[in-house]
Protein backbone atom coordinates (compact mmCIF):
# COMPACT_ATOMS: atom_id res chain seq x y z
CA UNK A 1 0.00 0.00 0.00
CA UNK A 2 1.21 3.48 -0.84
CA UNK A 3 2.48 5.34 2.20
CA UNK A 4 0.53 8.51 2.90
CA UNK A 5 1.79 11.18 5.29
CA UNK A 6 -0.85 13.62 6.51
CA UNK A 7 0.35 17.09 7.44
CA UNK A 8 -2.34 19.33 8.92
CA UNK A 9 -2.24 23.10 9.20
CA UNK A 10 -3.40 24.46 12.55
CA UNK A 11 -2.27 28.08 12.55
CA UNK A 12 -1.72 30.55 9.72
CA UNK A 13 -0.29 33.41 11.76
CA UNK A 14 0.09 34.52 15.37
CA UNK A 15 -3.47 35.44 16.28
CA UNK A 16 -5.19 32.77 14.22
CA UNK A 17 -7.98 30.56 15.65
CA UNK A 18 -7.24 29.13 19.10
CA UNK A 19 -9.42 26.09 18.39
CA UNK A 20 -7.93 25.03 15.05
CA UNK A 21 -4.99 22.99 16.41
CA UNK A 22 -7.26 20.82 18.57
CA UNK A 23 -9.81 20.42 15.79
CA UNK A 24 -7.06 19.19 13.48
CA UNK A 25 -5.77 16.64 16.01
CA UNK A 26 -9.19 15.37 17.07
CA UNK A 27 -11.21 15.70 13.85
CA UNK A 28 -9.65 12.76 12.01
CA UNK A 29 -6.36 11.01 11.27
CA UNK A 30 -3.25 13.20 10.88
CA UNK A 31 0.44 12.48 11.32
CA UNK A 32 1.85 15.99 11.71
CA UNK A 33 0.46 19.31 12.84
CA UNK A 34 2.24 22.40 11.51
CA UNK A 35 1.74 25.75 13.19
CA UNK A 36 3.02 28.94 11.59
CA UNK A 37 3.32 31.88 13.99
CA UNK A 38 5.78 34.24 12.37
CA UNK A 39 5.30 37.15 10.03
CA UNK A 40 7.91 39.73 9.14
CA UNK A 41 6.97 42.17 11.89
CA UNK A 42 6.37 39.47 14.51
CA UNK A 43 10.09 38.96 15.14
CA UNK A 44 10.62 42.59 16.17
CA UNK A 45 7.61 42.53 18.52
CA UNK A 46 9.05 39.40 20.13
CA UNK A 47 12.50 40.99 20.34
CA UNK A 48 11.03 43.93 22.27
CA UNK A 49 9.34 41.47 24.67
CA UNK A 50 12.62 39.65 25.17
CA UNK A 51 14.40 42.93 25.97
CA UNK A 52 11.88 43.52 28.76
CA UNK A 53 12.02 39.92 30.03
CA UNK A 54 14.76 37.51 28.91
CA UNK A 55 12.37 34.56 29.40
CA UNK A 56 10.00 35.96 26.75
CA UNK A 57 10.33 36.47 23.01
CA UNK A 58 8.29 33.55 21.69
CA UNK A 59 4.63 33.11 20.67
CA UNK A 60 2.97 32.40 24.00
CA UNK A 61 -0.27 31.29 22.30
CA UNK A 62 1.68 28.22 21.26
CA UNK A 63 1.87 26.92 24.85
CA UNK A 64 -1.94 27.11 25.08
CA UNK A 65 -2.22 25.40 21.70
CA UNK A 66 -0.05 22.52 22.90
CA UNK A 67 -2.02 22.23 26.14
CA UNK A 68 -5.17 21.90 24.05
CA UNK A 69 -3.77 19.14 21.82
CA UNK A 70 -1.62 17.30 24.35
CA UNK A 71 -3.98 14.43 25.21
CA UNK A 72 -4.65 13.86 21.51
CA UNK A 73 -1.04 13.94 20.32
CA UNK A 74 0.14 11.68 23.14
CA UNK A 75 -2.61 9.17 22.40
CA UNK A 76 -2.22 9.22 18.63
CA UNK A 77 1.49 9.93 18.28
CA UNK A 78 0.91 13.09 16.25
CA UNK A 79 4.02 15.23 15.87
CA UNK A 80 3.99 19.01 15.96
CA UNK A 81 6.26 21.42 14.10
CA UNK A 82 6.04 25.13 14.92
CA UNK A 83 8.12 28.25 14.39
CA UNK A 84 6.66 29.59 17.64
CA UNK A 85 10.13 29.99 19.14
CA UNK A 86 10.44 33.48 17.65
CA UNK A 87 13.61 35.10 18.98
CA UNK A 88 13.81 32.77 21.98
CA UNK A 89 13.17 29.14 20.96
CA UNK A 90 15.00 27.76 24.01
CA UNK A 91 12.77 29.66 26.44
CA UNK A 92 9.78 28.47 24.42
CA UNK A 93 10.92 24.85 24.76
CA UNK A 94 11.39 25.23 28.52
CA UNK A 95 7.90 26.71 28.90
CA UNK A 96 6.59 23.84 26.79
CA UNK A 97 8.29 21.20 28.92
CA UNK A 98 6.86 22.81 32.05
CA UNK A 99 3.37 22.78 30.51
CA UNK A 100 3.77 19.13 29.50
CA UNK A 101 4.84 18.21 33.04
CA UNK A 102 1.95 20.16 34.53
CA UNK A 103 -0.45 18.21 32.33
CA UNK A 104 0.94 14.95 33.74
CA UNK A 105 2.96 13.88 30.71
CA UNK A 106 6.45 14.60 32.05
CA UNK A 107 9.13 12.69 30.15
CA UNK A 108 6.67 11.29 27.60
CA UNK A 109 6.98 13.98 24.96
CA UNK A 110 10.38 14.85 23.55
CA UNK A 111 10.82 18.46 22.49
CA UNK A 112 13.34 19.44 19.81
CA UNK A 113 14.68 22.97 19.58
CA UNK A 114 16.31 24.49 16.52
CA UNK A 115 18.57 27.50 17.05
CA UNK A 116 21.17 29.38 15.05
CA UNK A 117 18.91 31.62 12.98
CA UNK A 118 19.39 34.59 15.33
CA UNK A 119 22.09 36.81 13.81
CA UNK A 120 21.56 39.82 16.09
CA UNK A 121 24.50 39.04 18.42
CA UNK A 122 26.70 38.57 15.34
CA UNK A 123 25.76 41.62 13.30
CA UNK A 124 28.92 43.65 13.90
CA UNK A 125 31.16 40.64 13.38
CA UNK A 126 29.33 39.89 10.09
CA UNK A 127 29.55 43.47 8.82
CA UNK A 128 33.25 43.59 9.76
CA UNK A 129 33.82 40.35 7.81
CA UNK A 130 32.43 42.00 4.67
CA UNK A 131 28.77 40.91 4.79
CA UNK A 132 27.10 44.20 3.90
CA UNK A 133 23.56 42.82 4.35
CA UNK A 134 22.37 45.19 1.63
CA UNK A 135 18.65 45.95 1.46
CA UNK A 136 17.30 43.70 -1.28
CA UNK A 137 15.20 46.46 -2.85
CA UNK A 138 17.22 49.65 -2.28
CA UNK A 139 20.76 48.22 -2.19
CA UNK A 140 21.63 50.29 0.91
CA UNK A 141 24.09 48.62 3.32
CA UNK A 142 22.83 47.66 6.77
CA UNK A 143 25.50 49.88 8.33
CA UNK A 144 23.28 52.86 7.39
CA UNK A 145 20.72 51.80 10.02
CA UNK A 146 22.97 49.67 12.24
CA UNK A 147 22.25 51.51 15.50
CA UNK A 148 18.49 51.13 14.95
CA UNK A 149 18.45 47.37 14.36
CA UNK A 150 16.13 45.46 16.69
CA UNK A 151 16.30 41.91 15.37
CA UNK A 152 18.04 39.98 12.61
CA UNK A 153 17.19 36.39 11.74
CA UNK A 154 18.14 34.15 8.86
CA UNK A 155 15.28 32.23 7.27
CA UNK A 156 16.40 28.65 7.80
CA UNK A 157 15.22 25.59 5.91
CA UNK A 158 13.95 22.13 6.71
CA UNK A 159 17.24 20.34 7.51
CA UNK A 160 17.56 21.08 11.25
CA UNK A 161 13.88 20.19 11.77
CA UNK A 162 14.50 16.86 10.02
CA UNK A 163 17.44 16.29 12.39
CA UNK A 164 15.23 16.95 15.41
CA UNK A 165 12.65 14.46 14.11
CA UNK A 166 15.40 11.88 13.51
CA UNK A 167 16.45 12.32 17.14
CA UNK A 168 12.94 11.40 18.22
CA UNK A 169 11.39 14.80 18.89
CA UNK A 170 7.59 14.77 18.98
CA UNK A 171 7.35 18.55 19.10
CA UNK A 172 9.86 20.68 17.22
CA UNK A 173 10.17 24.37 18.02
CA UNK A 174 12.12 26.71 15.77
CA UNK A 175 12.86 30.39 15.46
CA UNK A 176 12.76 31.97 12.01
CA UNK A 177 12.27 28.81 9.96
CA UNK A 178 10.62 29.48 6.64
CA UNK A 179 6.89 28.86 6.78
CA UNK A 180 7.21 26.18 4.12
CA UNK A 181 9.95 24.26 6.00
CA UNK A 182 7.41 23.35 8.67
CA UNK A 183 5.62 21.15 6.12
CA UNK A 184 8.65 20.12 4.09
CA UNK A 185 10.60 18.75 7.08
CA UNK A 186 8.18 15.95 8.03
CA UNK A 187 7.98 14.89 4.38
CA UNK A 188 11.77 14.72 4.07
CA UNK A 189 11.89 12.80 7.34
CA UNK A 190 9.18 10.31 6.36
CA UNK A 191 10.15 9.77 2.73
CA UNK A 192 13.91 10.16 3.06
CA UNK A 193 14.12 12.66 0.22
CA UNK A 194 17.76 13.50 -0.48
CA UNK A 195 19.02 17.08 -0.48
CA UNK A 196 19.07 17.00 -4.28
CA UNK A 197 15.67 15.39 -4.93
CA UNK A 198 14.72 18.76 -6.38
CA UNK A 199 11.28 17.84 -7.67
CA UNK A 200 10.15 16.23 -4.43
CA UNK A 201 11.61 19.07 -2.38
CA UNK A 202 9.80 21.56 -4.61
CA UNK A 203 6.57 19.62 -4.02
CA UNK A 204 7.17 19.91 -0.28
CA UNK A 205 7.47 23.66 -0.69
CA UNK A 206 4.23 23.86 -2.66
CA UNK A 207 2.42 21.80 -0.02
CA UNK A 208 3.90 24.12 2.60
CA UNK A 209 2.76 27.21 0.70
CA UNK A 210 -0.79 25.85 0.55
CA UNK A 211 -0.83 25.03 4.29
CA UNK A 212 1.06 28.01 5.71
CA UNK A 213 -1.86 30.45 5.72
CA UNK A 214 -4.26 28.15 7.54
CA UNK A 215 -7.80 28.12 6.20
CA UNK A 216 -6.96 30.56 3.41
CA UNK A 217 -6.72 27.52 1.12
CA UNK A 218 -9.83 25.74 2.41
CA UNK A 219 -12.46 28.36 1.71
CA UNK A 220 -11.39 31.27 3.92
CA UNK A 221 -10.84 34.61 2.17
CA UNK A 222 -11.86 32.88 -1.06
CA UNK A 223 -13.34 35.24 -3.65
CA UNK A 224 -14.53 32.52 -6.03
CA UNK A 225 -18.29 32.07 -5.39
CA UNK A 226 -17.65 33.17 -1.82
CA UNK A 227 -21.35 33.39 -0.97
CA UNK A 228 -21.77 29.66 -1.63
CA UNK A 229 -18.98 28.45 0.70
CA UNK A 230 -20.68 26.62 3.56
CA UNK A 231 -20.35 27.01 7.31
CA UNK A 232 -17.36 29.34 7.63
CA UNK A 233 -18.05 29.49 11.39
CA UNK A 234 -16.88 25.88 11.53
CA UNK A 235 -14.24 26.08 8.82
CA UNK A 236 -11.99 23.05 8.39
CA UNK A 237 -8.28 23.84 8.15
CA UNK A 238 -6.34 22.25 5.28
CA UNK A 239 -4.57 18.90 5.39
CA UNK A 240 -2.02 17.64 2.84
CA UNK A 241 -2.04 13.88 2.19
CA UNK A 242 1.40 13.39 0.73
CA UNK A 243 3.11 10.61 -1.21
CA UNK A 244 6.80 9.87 -1.69
CA UNK A 245 6.75 10.94 -5.38
CA UNK A 246 5.87 14.48 -4.31
CA UNK A 247 2.22 14.41 -5.31
CA UNK A 248 -0.36 15.22 -2.67
CA UNK A 249 -4.05 15.82 -2.06
CA UNK A 250 -5.29 18.86 -0.17
CA UNK A 251 -8.37 18.10 1.90
CA UNK A 252 -9.96 18.84 5.30
CA UNK A 253 -11.65 16.83 8.02
CA UNK A 254 -15.25 15.64 7.49
CA UNK A 255 -18.07 17.57 9.15
CA UNK A 256 -16.26 20.88 8.88
CA UNK A 257 -17.18 23.99 6.92
CA UNK A 258 -15.32 25.75 4.16
CA UNK A 259 -14.40 24.27 0.79
CA UNK A 260 -11.35 22.66 -0.76
CA UNK A 261 -11.67 23.20 -4.50
CA UNK A 262 -9.43 23.98 -7.45
CA UNK A 263 -10.37 27.68 -7.16
CA UNK A 264 -9.77 27.82 -3.37
CA UNK A 265 -6.36 26.14 -3.68
CA UNK A 266 -5.41 28.17 -6.76
CA UNK A 267 -6.13 31.43 -4.96
CA UNK A 268 -3.75 30.40 -2.19
CA UNK A 269 -1.11 29.32 -4.74
CA UNK A 270 -0.99 32.81 -6.28
CA UNK A 271 -1.06 34.57 -2.88
CA UNK A 272 2.09 36.67 -2.28
CA UNK A 273 3.59 35.16 -5.41
CA UNK A 274 6.68 36.71 -7.00
CA UNK A 275 8.26 35.25 -10.13
CA UNK A 276 6.50 31.87 -10.25
CA UNK A 277 9.39 30.26 -12.13
CA UNK A 278 11.66 30.65 -9.12
CA UNK A 279 10.12 30.45 -5.69
CA UNK A 280 13.37 30.61 -3.73
CA UNK A 281 13.72 28.76 -0.43
CA UNK A 282 16.77 27.57 1.56
CA UNK A 283 16.25 23.98 0.35
CA UNK A 284 15.21 24.29 -3.29
CA UNK A 285 14.00 26.69 -5.97
CA UNK A 286 10.46 25.59 -6.84
CA UNK A 287 8.80 26.25 -10.19
CA UNK A 288 5.18 27.20 -9.52
CA UNK A 289 4.38 27.15 -13.24
CA UNK A 290 4.82 23.36 -13.12
CA UNK A 291 1.97 22.83 -10.65
CA UNK A 292 -1.05 20.84 -11.81
CA UNK A 293 -4.26 20.90 -9.79
CA UNK A 294 -7.36 18.74 -10.28
CA UNK A 295 -10.51 18.09 -8.29
CA UNK A 296 -10.34 14.60 -6.79
CA UNK A 297 -13.76 14.23 -5.21
CA UNK A 298 -15.60 16.50 -2.80
CA UNK A 299 -13.23 18.76 -0.83
CA UNK A 300 -10.21 17.03 -2.32
CA UNK A 301 -7.74 18.64 -4.72
CA UNK A 302 -4.88 16.65 -6.19
CA UNK A 303 -1.64 18.59 -6.74
CA UNK A 304 1.10 17.03 -8.86
CA UNK A 305 3.75 17.45 -11.55
CA UNK A 306 5.85 19.87 -9.52
CA UNK A 307 9.45 20.51 -10.52
CA UNK A 308 12.31 22.36 -8.88
CA UNK A 309 16.01 23.05 -9.09
CA UNK A 310 19.06 23.62 -6.90
CA UNK A 311 18.86 26.09 -4.07
CA UNK A 312 20.89 29.31 -4.15
CA UNK A 313 24.05 29.80 -2.04
CA UNK A 314 22.22 32.42 0.03
CA UNK A 315 19.76 32.64 2.87
CA UNK A 316 17.36 35.51 3.22
CA UNK A 317 17.73 37.53 6.40
CA UNK A 318 14.82 39.28 8.05
CA UNK A 319 16.02 42.39 9.86
CA UNK A 320 13.79 44.76 11.82
CA UNK A 321 14.84 48.32 12.62
CA UNK A 322 13.33 51.38 14.28
CA UNK A 323 12.08 53.76 11.58
CA UNK A 324 10.37 56.69 13.30
CA UNK A 325 6.81 57.15 14.45
CA UNK A 326 3.35 57.16 12.95
CA UNK A 327 -0.26 57.84 13.88
CA UNK A 328 -3.52 57.41 12.01
CA UNK A 329 -6.80 59.07 12.93
CA UNK A 330 -10.25 59.22 11.42
CA UNK A 331 -13.62 60.98 11.48
CA UNK A 332 -16.88 59.92 9.82
CA UNK A 333 -18.94 62.43 7.81
CA UNK A 334 -22.60 61.82 6.98
CA UNK A 335 -24.90 62.50 4.05
CA UNK A 336 -25.72 65.02 2.65
CA UNK A 337 -22.43 65.87 0.92
CA UNK A 338 -20.49 63.31 2.98
CA UNK A 339 -17.58 63.19 0.55
CA UNK A 340 -17.42 66.98 0.15
CA UNK A 341 -17.35 67.43 3.93
CA UNK A 342 -14.62 64.82 4.34
CA UNK A 343 -12.56 66.52 1.63
CA UNK A 344 -13.07 69.90 3.32
CA UNK A 345 -11.92 68.42 6.65
CA UNK A 346 -8.79 67.14 4.93
CA UNK A 347 -7.99 70.59 3.50
CA UNK A 348 -8.57 72.29 6.83
CA UNK A 349 -6.47 69.80 8.79
CA UNK A 350 -3.57 69.98 6.35
CA UNK A 351 -3.64 73.78 6.50
CA UNK A 352 -3.49 73.54 10.31
CA UNK A 353 -0.51 71.20 10.14
CA UNK A 354 1.22 73.61 7.73
CA UNK A 355 0.59 76.60 10.00
CA UNK A 356 2.03 74.67 12.92
CA UNK A 357 5.14 74.08 10.82
CA UNK A 358 4.97 70.32 11.35
CA UNK A 359 7.07 68.31 8.92
CA UNK A 360 6.51 64.63 8.17
CA UNK A 361 8.11 62.11 5.84
CA UNK A 362 4.67 61.09 4.72
CA UNK A 363 1.06 62.26 5.07
CA UNK A 364 -1.72 60.18 3.58
CA UNK A 365 -5.42 61.02 3.40
CA UNK A 366 -7.99 58.40 2.49
CA UNK A 367 -11.76 58.51 2.11
CA UNK A 368 -13.00 55.13 3.28
CA UNK A 369 -16.31 54.21 1.71
CA UNK A 370 -15.55 56.33 -1.32
CA UNK A 371 -12.17 55.43 -2.80
CA UNK A 372 -9.62 54.29 -0.20
CA UNK A 373 -8.73 51.01 -1.87
CA UNK A 374 -9.71 51.53 -5.53
CA UNK A 375 -8.76 55.19 -6.01
CA UNK A 376 -9.91 56.73 -9.27
CA UNK A 377 -11.45 53.40 -10.34
CA UNK A 378 -14.17 53.72 -7.66
CA UNK A 379 -16.07 56.65 -9.12
CA UNK A 380 -16.39 59.98 -7.31
CA UNK A 381 -18.04 58.82 -4.06
CA UNK A 382 -20.77 61.50 -4.35
CA UNK A 383 -24.04 60.74 -2.58
CA UNK A 384 -22.41 58.16 -0.26
CA UNK A 385 -24.40 57.70 2.99
CA UNK A 386 -21.19 58.26 4.95
CA UNK A 387 -17.49 58.62 4.30
CA UNK A 388 -14.69 57.98 6.78
CA UNK A 389 -11.93 60.57 6.50
CA UNK A 390 -8.75 58.75 7.51
CA UNK A 391 -5.44 60.57 7.77
CA UNK A 392 -2.05 59.28 8.80
CA UNK A 393 1.41 60.80 9.24
CA UNK A 394 4.85 59.27 9.63
CA UNK A 395 8.11 60.93 10.61
CA UNK A 396 11.27 60.73 12.69
CA UNK A 397 10.17 63.31 15.26
CA UNK A 398 7.89 61.82 17.89
CA UNK A 399 6.74 65.23 19.16
CA UNK A 400 5.48 66.24 15.70
CA UNK A 401 3.49 63.03 15.35
CA UNK A 402 2.15 63.56 18.88
CA UNK A 403 1.02 67.08 17.97
CA UNK A 404 -0.72 65.78 14.86
CA UNK A 405 -2.87 63.48 17.02
CA UNK A 406 -4.19 66.52 18.90
CA UNK A 407 -5.30 68.32 15.74
CA UNK A 408 -8.05 65.90 14.68
CA UNK A 409 -10.61 66.12 17.49
CA UNK A 410 -10.99 69.94 17.30
CA UNK A 411 -12.47 69.47 13.80
CA UNK A 412 -15.54 67.97 15.44
CA UNK A 413 -16.63 71.40 16.70
CA UNK A 414 -14.74 73.77 14.43
CA UNK A 415 -14.89 72.01 11.06
CA UNK A 416 -17.48 70.81 8.54
CA UNK A 417 -20.84 69.56 9.93
CA UNK A 418 -22.42 66.08 10.35
CA UNK A 419 -19.35 64.49 11.87
CA UNK A 420 -19.29 61.45 14.12
CA UNK A 421 -17.29 58.30 14.82
CA UNK A 422 -14.62 59.85 17.06
CA UNK A 423 -15.47 57.92 20.23
CA UNK A 424 -12.11 56.14 20.18
CA UNK A 425 -10.39 59.36 21.26
CA UNK A 426 -7.01 60.64 20.17
CA UNK A 427 -5.06 58.32 17.91
CA UNK A 428 -2.08 56.53 19.47
CA UNK A 429 1.48 57.29 18.41
CA UNK A 430 3.19 54.08 17.34
CA UNK A 431 6.85 53.43 16.83
CA UNK A 432 7.44 52.16 13.29
CA UNK A 433 9.44 48.96 13.15
CA UNK A 434 10.42 48.52 9.54
CA UNK A 435 11.59 45.45 7.70
CA UNK A 436 14.99 45.18 6.04
CA UNK A 437 15.31 42.13 3.77
CA UNK A 438 18.86 41.06 2.92
CA UNK A 439 20.80 38.02 1.72
CA UNK A 440 23.68 36.26 3.42
CA UNK A 441 26.07 33.50 2.42
CA UNK A 442 24.61 30.19 3.62
CA UNK A 443 27.98 29.05 5.00
CA UNK A 444 27.84 31.76 7.63
CA UNK A 445 24.71 30.42 9.30
CA UNK A 446 25.01 27.21 11.32
CA UNK A 447 22.00 25.74 13.06
CA UNK A 448 21.96 23.66 16.22
CA UNK A 449 19.47 21.02 17.26
CA UNK A 450 18.78 19.91 20.81
CA UNK A 451 16.19 17.35 21.88
CA UNK A 452 15.02 17.42 25.51
CA UNK A 453 12.22 16.03 27.63
Amino acid sequence: MTKIVRVASGQGFWGDSLDAPRQQVEGGPIDYLMLDYLAEVTMSILQKQKERDPAMGYARDFIGAIESVLPGIVERGVKVIANAGGVNPVACAHALIAAIAKAGHAGRVKVGVVTGDDLLPRIDELIAAGHALKHMETGAPLSSVRNRVLSANAYIGSKPIVEALEQGAQIVVTGRSTDTALTMAPLRHEFGWAADNWNQLAAGIVAGHILECGAQSSGGNCLHDWWTIPDLANIGYPIAECQSDGSFVITKHPNTGGRVSVPSVSEQLVYEMGDPHSYITPDVVADFTSIHVAQDGANRVRVHGITGGPATPFLKVSIAYRAGFKAVGSLVYSWPDAMEKAEAANRILRERLDRLGLKFDQILSEFVGANATHGHLSGDGRDAPEVQFRIGVRGEDRASVERFTREIAPLVLNGPPSVTGFAGGRPKVEEVIAYWPALIDKQVVTTQVEVMS
Binding site: E40, V41, M136, E137, N221, L223, H224, P263, S266, E267, Q268, L269, V270, Y271, E272, M273, G274, D275, P276, H277, F288, T289, S290, I291, H292, V293, G305, A323, K326, V328, Q362, I363, L364, E366, V368, A372, T373, H374, G375, H376, L377, R390, G392, V393, R394, V432, I433, A434, Y435, P437
Partner: protein, 125 residues
Protein backbone atom coordinates in the same frame (compact mmCIF):
# COMPACT_ATOMS: atom_id res chain seq x y z
CA UNK B 1 -16.98 50.79 -28.70
CA UNK B 2 -16.82 49.99 -32.37
CA UNK B 3 -19.43 48.05 -34.32
CA UNK B 4 -19.17 44.30 -34.01
CA UNK B 5 -17.66 44.43 -30.52
CA UNK B 6 -19.09 43.89 -27.06
CA UNK B 7 -17.91 44.69 -23.56
CA UNK B 8 -17.14 42.23 -20.78
CA UNK B 9 -16.11 42.92 -17.23
CA UNK B 10 -13.08 41.13 -15.77
CA UNK B 11 -15.15 40.42 -12.64
CA UNK B 12 -17.25 38.07 -14.76
CA UNK B 13 -14.22 36.28 -16.26
CA UNK B 14 -11.79 35.78 -13.38
CA UNK B 15 -11.20 35.65 -9.65
CA UNK B 16 -8.19 37.15 -7.93
CA UNK B 17 -6.09 37.20 -4.77
CA UNK B 18 -3.30 39.54 -3.81
CA UNK B 19 -0.64 40.02 -1.16
CA UNK B 20 2.50 42.02 -0.52
CA UNK B 21 6.24 41.77 -1.01
CA UNK B 22 7.76 44.90 0.50
CA UNK B 23 6.47 47.90 -1.43
CA UNK B 24 5.17 45.65 -4.18
CA UNK B 25 1.72 44.06 -4.39
CA UNK B 26 1.16 40.86 -6.29
CA UNK B 27 -2.09 40.24 -8.07
CA UNK B 28 -2.98 36.72 -9.15
CA UNK B 29 -5.76 36.53 -11.75
CA UNK B 30 -7.37 33.12 -12.30
CA UNK B 31 -9.75 32.46 -15.20
CA UNK B 32 -13.22 31.25 -14.22
CA UNK B 33 -13.17 28.91 -17.22
CA UNK B 34 -10.17 27.33 -18.94
CA UNK B 35 -11.43 28.40 -22.39
CA UNK B 36 -11.35 32.04 -21.30
CA UNK B 37 -7.69 31.94 -20.27
CA UNK B 38 -6.23 32.72 -23.75
CA UNK B 39 -8.42 35.84 -23.88
CA UNK B 40 -6.97 36.98 -20.54
CA UNK B 41 -3.43 36.28 -21.76
CA UNK B 42 -4.10 38.40 -24.85
CA UNK B 43 -5.94 41.28 -23.19
CA UNK B 44 -4.29 41.60 -19.78
CA UNK B 45 -0.90 42.81 -20.92
CA UNK B 46 1.47 44.40 -18.42
CA UNK B 47 0.95 47.74 -20.22
CA UNK B 48 -2.83 47.46 -20.02
CA UNK B 49 -2.71 46.63 -16.33
CA UNK B 50 -0.25 49.47 -15.65
CA UNK B 51 -2.60 51.90 -17.38
CA UNK B 52 -5.62 50.54 -15.48
CA UNK B 53 -4.03 51.15 -12.07
CA UNK B 54 -2.79 54.61 -13.08
CA UNK B 55 -1.92 56.75 -10.05
CA UNK B 56 -2.71 53.89 -7.65
CA UNK B 57 0.81 52.56 -8.16
CA UNK B 58 4.15 54.33 -8.52
CA UNK B 59 6.20 51.81 -10.49
CA UNK B 60 6.08 49.40 -13.40
CA UNK B 61 4.12 46.14 -13.74
CA UNK B 62 5.61 42.69 -14.44
CA UNK B 63 3.53 39.83 -15.75
CA UNK B 64 4.00 36.04 -15.48
CA UNK B 65 1.90 33.29 -17.06
CA UNK B 66 0.84 30.11 -15.23
CA UNK B 67 -1.07 28.17 -17.89
CA UNK B 68 -1.46 25.04 -15.72
CA UNK B 69 -3.35 27.11 -13.17
CA UNK B 70 -5.11 29.16 -15.89
CA UNK B 71 -3.64 32.11 -14.03
CA UNK B 72 -1.61 35.26 -14.57
CA UNK B 73 0.50 36.83 -11.86
CA UNK B 74 1.18 40.56 -11.87
CA UNK B 75 3.74 42.35 -9.74
CA UNK B 76 2.73 45.95 -9.14
CA UNK B 77 5.83 47.86 -8.07
CA UNK B 78 5.44 50.82 -5.74
CA UNK B 79 1.84 49.91 -4.93
CA UNK B 80 1.89 50.14 -1.15
CA UNK B 81 3.11 53.61 -0.16
CA UNK B 82 6.34 52.15 1.23
CA UNK B 83 4.83 48.82 2.22
CA UNK B 84 4.71 46.84 5.45
CA UNK B 85 4.74 48.91 8.61
CA UNK B 86 5.99 52.04 6.81
CA UNK B 87 2.77 52.34 4.82
CA UNK B 88 -0.06 54.51 6.12
CA UNK B 89 -2.61 52.96 3.78
CA UNK B 90 -5.72 51.08 4.91
CA UNK B 91 -4.58 48.33 2.56
CA UNK B 92 -0.92 48.47 3.59
CA UNK B 93 -0.40 44.81 2.72
CA UNK B 94 -2.12 44.91 -0.63
CA UNK B 95 -4.79 42.41 0.39
CA UNK B 96 -7.46 43.95 -1.83
CA UNK B 97 -5.30 45.50 -4.56
CA UNK B 98 -6.43 42.67 -6.83
CA UNK B 99 -10.13 43.51 -6.51
CA UNK B 100 -9.47 46.82 -8.29
CA UNK B 101 -8.25 44.77 -11.25
CA UNK B 102 -11.71 43.20 -11.56
CA UNK B 103 -13.19 46.56 -12.51
CA UNK B 104 -11.46 46.38 -15.87
CA UNK B 105 -13.76 46.39 -18.91
CA UNK B 106 -12.57 44.51 -21.98
CA UNK B 107 -13.79 45.13 -25.50
CA UNK B 108 -13.93 41.93 -27.56
CA UNK B 109 -15.30 40.98 -30.97
CA UNK B 110 -18.98 39.96 -30.71
CA UNK B 111 -18.25 36.79 -32.66
CA UNK B 112 -15.55 35.71 -30.20
CA UNK B 113 -17.78 36.59 -27.25
CA UNK B 114 -20.52 34.37 -28.66
CA UNK B 115 -18.11 31.50 -29.36
CA UNK B 116 -16.68 31.68 -25.85
CA UNK B 117 -20.08 32.21 -24.23
CA UNK B 118 -18.74 35.33 -22.48
CA UNK B 119 -21.04 37.11 -19.98
CA UNK B 120 -21.46 40.28 -22.01
CA UNK B 121 -22.39 43.57 -20.33
CA UNK B 122 -25.84 44.58 -21.50
CA UNK B 123 -25.52 48.26 -20.68
CA UNK B 124 -22.78 50.57 -21.80
CA UNK B 125 -20.24 51.25 -19.01
Amino acid sequence: MSAGTVQVRLLDLAHTRSGDKGDMANCGVIALRAEWYPLLVRELTAERVRAHYGALIAGPVDRFELPNLIALNFLLHGALDGGGTLSLKTDAQGKVVSTAMLRMILTVPAKEAAELDLPVLTHKE
